[in-house]
């Protein structure tokens, strides 16, 4: 390392020492400001994670799958006979179907998503649900069997072989099941809180109790040979059932999931706005702290300038202190985001099955720490740079 580099490094260390000591000259004020930033970054991180959790289903959806539903509304069903006709369409590799069941365990507080599925095709279409082969076979072989996610099993303490009863809300009655398999997610974005059982079990019961609702399904799940041809296959499916009693609306799984999110988009936008407002508020708070600091030290800056320090040295001290405070507070906020989000995810698991802090949230946290630090330092630095040395010295005493 050259002498000039050593000198710069030493001067930078001296400056760092100076600004860290300056930062804690008013300990309570600085600590409260740091605490404010910590809380703001934590709140921002959590709110952004809530938004991410809202879109978790969209993000986890596959581009290689289509979903076909009744074109009037999702609450209207489609005939089971459509399966074979869809399978024959060019570009379709496999077809399965599922029905939203809407059952509750004991009472409505114990909500979790539950579906009646066609087991073989459905599980083949969703490789992200990872099952042990023996458990998978046990589920397929048992018409009253069910597959549950790892988190759901942990939530209710269910084990393989346990019997349980769901109370039907859309399909009245008490429905008994045996846990035959517990799936885990292939990655962190897979929802591990779902419940699947045999569509045949539902259908056979309906044939006896409500024959008009039998042989119907809520949605078709369509596997594609080529994901690039999603639009063409969608159009082909819908064209096949045009002018029928139950016309279809076929879209990618992502679009299907987005249609759910769009129903609550106003809430998501409100959460996003609040998260940015939090950052703006803390920016004003830090700017106020730095303005007070610079006003108190204007005489000191004049002394530095009198001794021969240049404007950029003085600006460096102010920006450095501002960044020191914002990065310290922000760093603590980021560190706290993980345990708090984990706890939040545990408590709110039934509403947000996938609640994890995304790297994009962390990048935004870091970016806002820097922005807060820089913007808070701009006006105090400009004031300190502009101050006439003689005027500044007159303010001392």
């Amino acid at each position: 390392m050259s002498f000039a580099t050593w000198k710069k490094a030493y001067s930078a260390m001296f400056l760092l020492k100076l600004l860290s000591r300056n930062a804690f000259r008013h300990r309570l004020r600085t600590l409260l400001t740091i605490l404010g930033i910590t809380v703001a970054i934590l709140a921002f991180g959590l709110l952004q994670t809530v938004v991410s959790a809202w879109y978790a289903g969209v993000n986890a959806s596959s581009a290689a799958r289509l979903i076909s539903r009744n074109s009037i509304s999702l609450i209207f069903s489609l005939p089971i006979s459509y399966q074979e006709r869809i399978r024959r369409i060019e570009g379709v590799s496999s077809v399965s179907y599922a029905n939203w069941f809407g059952g509750v365990y004991i009472n409505e507080k114990n909500f979790f998503p539950n579906f009646a599925i066609e087991p073989q095709g459905y599980l083949a279409l969703y490789p992200e649900f990872v099952l042990e082969p023996s458990q998978k076979q046990a589920f397929i072989s048992d018409r009253k069997g069910c597959v549950i996610g790892r988190k759901l099993a942990e939530r209710f303490g269910w084990k393989i072989g346990d019997g349980l009863t769901l109370k039907g809300t859309i399909f009245p009655g008490n429905w008994e099941f045996v846990v035959r398999a517990i799936y885990t997610g292939a990655d962190k974005s897979t929802d591990e809180s779902q419940f699947f059982f045999h569509w045949d079990y539902l259908n056979e019961s309906l044939k006896k109790t409500m024959p008009r609702r039998a042989d119907q399904t809520g949605i078709y799940l369509i596997g594609l040979t080529n994901p690039q041809a999603a639009a063409e296959v969608s159009m082909a499916v819908d064209a096949t059932f045009k002018n029928s009693l139950a016309e279809t609306l076929t879209e990618t799984e992502k679009a299907f999931q987005l249609s759910f999110v769009s129903m609550t988009e106003a809430i998501v936008i409100a959460i996003r706005i609040v998260s940015f407002v939090v950052i703006i508020i803390i920016m004003v708070v830090v700017a106020n702290t730095m303005a007070m600091t610079a006003r108190e030290r204007i005489g000191e800056y004049a002394i530095f300038k009198a001794m021969g320090f240049q404007w950029y040295h003085v600006a460096g001290m102010i920006f450095g202190e501002s960044l020191f405070i914002s990065i310290t507070g922000g760093g603590l906020g980021i560190l706290l985001t993980f345990p708090v989000a984990h706890k939040f995810g545990e408590v709110m698991g039934q509403f947000f099955p996938i609640f994890q802090v995304e790297s994009s949230t962390l990048y935004m946290d870091m970016f806002f720490c820097l922005i807060v630090g820089v913007i808070a330092g701009v006006f105090p630095a400009m004031r300190a740079i502009k101050i006439n040395v003689a005027d500044g010295l007159r303010r001392i005493g």
Binding site: L18, M307, I396
Partner: protein
């Protein structure tokens, strides 16, 4: 002692005028001031409040600019320098001693003295040698690691003097250096400044109200309403 023709002139003030503005109204502070300061001279500037003595000191020290006239320090017309050039010039040529010491409270005595040296090309070891020498000159070696709040007023002013001399500047400017000190401490500071002048040949320009402080100087110039009114040796 007024500079004679054989003495080297270190500061030359030529027809310097300066006004401040109250709104749009100019308030003259200095009018056509002309005098020279010889190398090694100890000059006291005296006068009532508002007479312009601190303004004159600031102009010579390069922390304020003249409206008209010129100030040569060691042959350089400092009125022609830009703000950045003036800052660099001050770092190398001027040592400041203020009434209220103006030490940086979060830095130790050692670090305060080292501060101006950060602007030089000295190595860390050389800087340490300079700081230790300056501390020895002001007899505060044992207080190097003390913070200003842990020092008395007189000790703080000695640290400030050490900071002023550590770069071996061309001139030392002192604005009421004993104004905030008790009689004993003031005596020590004046003794130290006299020693800097006599033993180390430092050129000192001091603004003071205190006749006892002015007595230590070689030359006393009186300012009255922005005009040099009297000179005594």
């Amino acid at each position: 002692m007024l500079p004679d023709q054989n003495q080297e002139i270190i500061v030359s003030v030529n027809a310097v005028s300066k006004s401040y503005y109250r709104g749009n109204q100019p308030v003259p502070v200095l009018e056509e001031i002309t005098f020279d300061i010889a190398r090694g001279e100890y000059l006291a500037l005296m006068g009532p409040s508002g007479s312009g003595k601190s303004t004159l000191l600031n102009l010579i020290a390069g922390i304020d600019t003249v409206d008209s006239g010129s100030i040569f320090v060691d042959g350089l017309d400092i009125a022609l320098l830009s703000e950045a050039e003036l800052a660099a010039w001050r770092a190398a040529n001027v040592g400041f001693i203020f009434q209220f010491y103006n030490l940086i409270p979060v830095l130790t005595a050692y670090e305060n003295i080292e501060l101006p040296l950060l602007l030089t090309a000295l190595t860390r070891r050389e800087r340490r040698e300079h700081v230790e020498t300056a501390l020895a000159v002001v007899n505060l070696t044992d207080r190097a690691e003390h913070y200003p709040s842990q020092l008395s007023g007189g000790q703080q002013q000695r640290v400030a003097i050490a900071r002023a001399i550590v770069t071996d500047p061309t001139v030392l400017v002192a604005d009421e250096p004993t104004g905030d000190l008790d009689r004993v401490s003031a005596g020590e500071i004046l003794g130290l400044m006299s020693r800097l002048n006599s033993d180390f040949g430092k050129t000192i320009i001091m603004v003071t109200h205190d006749p006892r402080a002015a007595e230590k100087a070689h030359v006393i110039r009186h300012l009255e309403k922005g005009v040099l009114s009297d000179v005594s040796t």
